[in-house]
Symmetry: none
Subunit: 226 residues, 4 copies
DNA sequence: AATGAATGAGCGTTCATTCAT
DNA sequence: TATGAATGAACGCTCATTCAT
């Protein structure tokens, strides 16, 4: 498992909410299925997820998988929801631990994200989320919600470092920072060609975003180009 | 089709190389299949691509699809290759037209990418490419090659604006810029929640990257953090 | 079914070993499929065996056939194994009932085989086995095993009638006898042109093999010809 | 090619009759197809024969194969006919060269057959013929015809060695001998487990059949058993 | 004589889903 | 909860066959 060491955390796993009631046997099966699905998603991609393969991985019967998840859409959504929830939780946990001034927090934010995209799970899962979000409104909304929450932290930092920006301007700057970091997944994620340059990229990101946040003015953002 | 207007270009379509020979009927079928596949990919995602659906879309028989593409892997690879080639071509065409000094070129680069991710095709296709590249070495390599080519332009601009960086440093900066732009696809692409803020994002990107490229020093990149 | 009358037996059917457990519905389906496959093999030859035709014959769905037999290879091997096993069983049962001295046993052996090749099933199945064995090592081995077992009886008879032969010589004589009988399948089997002469052929075989076994000497077998 | 040495001959190839007229180009394609089909039959069995695979093997187009053979049945029949014809020819050629008294001729016959079943082609082709003959009347008839012709030789030998048998008795004895030899294909053919014992089997066969032919009497054949 | 293109059926296989037990 | 059995559709793919060129 990944350590919860403050500096080199990774944001992972599944957050499963449901059925605290009753038989714990049931809960076991439920979680087993979601974890098997996650493994399939990470190891072989979305198309590898099927009731049959899940059943085989869980050493149970196909019919029993459909006992827990009536339809595949049901399964996929609960899986992605659990994945996203775990990211939300982990991210919140890590960021709230840090109370060292906005610049250090920005640094921390970049560090957390860089460490996270380095993991196999994040590198594999996020592109699938982005692809699925393009054709499934439910997932699109859930993904957006996740990013909305993640940006709350950046927004706070910007507010402290650059209070004169309007809400929209600030939020757009936050989005730009968040999107930049996400973009790195494809190039510097797990086993990606630029993985070896993550330290450099982290430095560039910290420098760039700090400068950006501290120096940008409304007129720069509002500027109209021909 | 998409315009080739210098400023607001969209990089699209398929670049199909093959078969100048033989019956034109054949070429028609071949292209028809690739375009139908692209439409399925864009409209419904990768999983929607099947020989049967393609055949239906082309109003031909399943067997005839396999006449042109022996296996599905064959089809997918030729499709993605054609997609990627068209991006390479369009990008090269647009960037080579611009001869106005490095800063204006950087501005131009950002503009081109922002315009491109705004298109339905790019917004839909790229996340699929990223997801597929995670589980298909052939596609991974082809995607990487495309980005390698795209960064040549950025590298030239950086060399002019900041000649003292080493090759690796410069290339890492170029990658950071490219990745940042790609990351925007998911948030500000076609029908995405931040699509309305693309003008702001463009301004932020231009400002940020110009500053980055002009001011960054080797020591900033090489810095070692605890 | 075929009678088990001691003299004019026919060696047939399928010997199915598996699944005493579980629902009897399952066992039914399993046997139903194997019998349908056997019928197709006998009626129309190996190439007629397909999941779809089996499903139709069993009045079930294609998917359900693959529920019982994961792959076609699986089905074919279990089918041929069941066929071969039934032959082994029947042959053993008949031959062990006979305790009347070696010459009468040899007579009995010839009779059993002649009766067997007269059946539709044997006439149709064995050439398929021989053909399949040429290109499938698994089947080749299983067929060989069956014949090995069948020759045990002949070997015993030869040992009694002609004790001075070496092991290898005796086994080769046994093989010659067995092969001769098998060869008759193609000419005097079910609906074959020489079917009407089976009584004559039986007499010839009995006479020939009895003479052979009683009179052959090592030097006859070892003889070197130019 | 196989030698035509008198003693160790092998009976092979295809006898192609048709189209002596016109373009020899056409004849080339025709023969090429039949030989490719034979190779497929020998190498991978009957089920491997398809227009597509033949076309690939001949480096020609599928459509062109159907130019020569309108239907697959057409092809199969002409192929098997050519195979059978070649056996008939070769057998006739070899046996007519031998003029050394009936016993030596019987020896020669056994030798020829034993040598022939040792070949890859015969071992692979004959079981396919037997299997196909069970479900195709045309092939059945052609195979029967081949064997009828082959037995002419044996019949002559028997007539000389044992003139008192009736026609039917003699023919049945001849059939028994022929069938015995054919049966050996499955056990002592090319790469078969008893291939190493072919010399022994030849001795046994010669001895057995010589005795049989010389000593058998009508009453032995006509005998009625309970 | 030969090719390229197309059809329509069938293949083995996998799938999501249902349901009685 | 869990299994075994079954359905019906779709999948990638190969096939024999046809036909205009």
């Amino acid at each position: 498992m990944e350590g919860i060491d403050v500096e080199s955390i990774t944001v992972k796993d599944l957050k499963i909410t449901r059925r605290d009631e009753g038989y714990s046997r049931g809960r076991e099966g439920y979680e087993q299925i979601l974890h098997a699905s996650l493994n399939l998603l990470v190891d072989e991609g979305y198309k590898a997820i099927s009731f049959r393969r899940i059943a085989k991985a869980c050493d149970m019967n196909v019919g029993n998988v459909t006992y827990y998840f009536k339809t595949k859409e049901d399964l996929i959504r609960q899986l992605l929801d659990a994945i996203i929830s775990s990211y939300e939780d982990e991210f919140l946990k890590i960021m709230t631990l840090t109370k060292r001034g906005p610049e250090r927090q920005l640094e921390k934010y970049v560090t957390v994200i860089i460490n996270d995209i380095a993991t196999r799970k994040t590198t594999r899962v996020f592109p699938e989320l982005w692809a699925l979000a393009n054709h499934d409104a439910f997932i699109a909304e859930r993904v957006q919600e996740m990013y909305d929450r993640a940006r709350v932290t950046i927004n706070k930092i910007i507010t402290e470092l650059n209070p004169e920006l309007s809400d929209e301007e600030r939020e757009t700057v936050a989005l730009f920072i968040s999107a930049s970091m996400e973009g790195l997944t494809v190039f510097a994620g797990y086993e990606k060609p630029w993985a070896g340059n993550r330290a450099f990229l982290k430095n560039i990101a910290i420098l760039t975003f700090t400068n950006l946040v501290k120096t940008i003015r409304s007129k720069d953002i509002q500027k109209i180009r021909s």
